[in-house]
């Protein structure tokens, strides 16, 4: 289990990274916690690795104009410890302890998790549930992509091989924001068998703007739109029933499709409870 040979270049700046990525078979290296494993197993054999770890200004967390901005190179450990994230993006704070293990979180990056887009990963689903947006820089300049348009398929996103994801933004939470998060994993730190990230706005005793993003039940994180509508009516049973139209999970190494669908319903009840609880 050793990587096939490749060339390596350390990008000095974002512009330099984008130049280097124009080469045939170049791959961007951020935290490397998924990429280097796939290199070791020779599931991936790029010609050139473009290391963005030395680029200044790609990491960091800041509140700007009612949105929380998280730099793509922000390590999971930093996000996990961040008081800004706990306060302004509590859904992300709930998800962080479920991601890998301490040593993985010391290296893995927020942007890397989104760009890799493992269908069973936590952060892509949080990003989708929060209705965030991704800031991308490529050879044609910068562009912004909304979370609902970011995930395209299995390990496929709006990013091309020549692009760099530079940061993401999510709406900052306020007093009416409600969030919920739950997942089933066989062992702590594993990718989830099924997981759910939810976000809503409290409207008196009711919920509005419900967004439910499942992970581990399809090729990419998926909104359960019929369940969202039922939950906005306050009908949890109808929301669980609606999952039969919202989700069609396939069998995988972890569980059969019907088991995953059942677990999705169990998670929905847990997350619904979290969403309906008053914020302390």
């Amino acid at each position: 289990m050793k990587p096939a040979p490749f060339a390596y270049a350390k990008a000095r700046s974002l512009a330099h990274a984008i130049d280097l990525l124009a080469q045939e078979d170049a791959r961007l290296l951020a935290g490397g916690q998924s990429l280097i494993a796939t290199l070791n197993m020779r599931l991936s054999q790029p010609a050139l690795l473009v290391d963005i770890n030395g680029i200044d200004g790609l990491g960091g967390i800041a509140l700007k104009d009612g949105q929380l901005e998280i730099g793509a190179l922000t390590r999971h450990a930093q996000t996990e410890r961040s008081a800004e994230v706990a306060r302004h993006a509590p859904l992300i704070a709930l998800a962080m302890p479920h991601i890998g293990h301490p040593a993985i979180r010391n290296r893995g990056t927020f942007g890397g998790s989104l760009a890799f887009a493992d269908p069973a990963a936590e952060l892509p689903a949080c990003f989708l549930a929060l209705g965030g947006e991704a800031e991308i820089k490529g050879p044609q300049g910068p562009r912004t992509v909304k979370a609902d348009d970011f995930f395209k398929g299995l390990f496929e996103t709006a990013l091309t091989p020549r692009d760099v994801l530079t940061s993401i933004r999510v709406p900052a939470a306020n007093a009416d924001t409600r969030v919920g998060f739950a997942e089933f994993a066989r062992r702590h730190g594993d990718y989830a068998m099924v997981g759910l990230a939810g976000c809503a706005r409290a409207d008196g005793a009711r919920l509005g703007e419900v967004r439910l993003a499942y992970f581990g039940v399809g090729p990419m994180p998926l909104r359960a739109r019929n369940a969202e509508a039922a939950l906005a009516r306050g009908d949890v049973d109808a929301a669980v029933a609606a999952l039969s139209t919202d989700l069609d999970p396939s069998d995988d190494i972890q569980a059969t499709g019907p088991v995953k669908r059942h677990l999705a319903g169990v998670l929905l009840r847990r997350v619904a409870k979290q969403l309906m609880e008053a914020r302390s």
């Binding site: 040979p5 060339a7 390596y8 270049a9 490397g32 197993m41 293990h101 301490p102 993985i104 290296r107």
Partner: protein
């Protein structure tokens, strides 16, 4: 500079090191094969088992999920250096006292990961200790004695 081989300069256990490395060489292979520091072990080679745990710039990382070439300018510490400095002498002693190892393959990684938790201060709950060590696999003793050892050291350090 889009080359396969690179010159790197780093410190390993406080000593300056200059080497010429193949970009595809992982940090743990570099430590073991080029520097003969064989205390960091190669287990699963895809980030699951934790046997290759080392410290880079003060935090624990998977030695199999970082490339040696990425460590240019970094401060790397291995079990050899951290043991020699006596930073974890009490933790090593607690592992011995409680038989918290049999074959010892996972032990360097266990010690470094546990020390990161202990350095945060306080006395973590057993649940917290287990969660923190969940990325380090032991295939022979089970975890009870390991958790006992880490808990005992946390209590001893807190009462100092």
């Amino acid at each position: 500079m889009n080359e396969r081989f690179h010159d790197i300069t780093l410190t390993v256990n406080g000593e300056a090191v200059r080497e010429h490395v193949d970009a595809r060489k992982t940090l743990v292979d570099f430590l073991r094969e080029d520097l003969a520091l064989t205390g960091s072990h190669v287990g699963c080679e895809h980030g699951v088992c934790g046997a290759c745990t080392v410290r880079v710039d003060g935090v624990v990382v998977r030695g199999c999920l970082m490339l040696a070439v990425q460590c240019d300018g970094a401060r790397v510490e291995t079990i050899e250096g951290i043991a020699d400095s006596h930073e974890i002498a009490d933790l090593q002693q607690a592992f011995i006292a409680r038989n918290a190892l049999q074959c010892g393959f996972c032990t360097p990684g266990m010690l470094l990961t546990a020390q990161e938790l202990l350095r945060a201060g306080g006395v973590p709950s057993r649940e917290t200790i287990r969660t923190h060590l969940s990325g380090n696999y032991c295939r022979c003793t089970g975890y009870q004695a390991i958790v006992d050892a880490v808990e005992a050291v946390a209590q001893a350090r807190a009462s100092d």
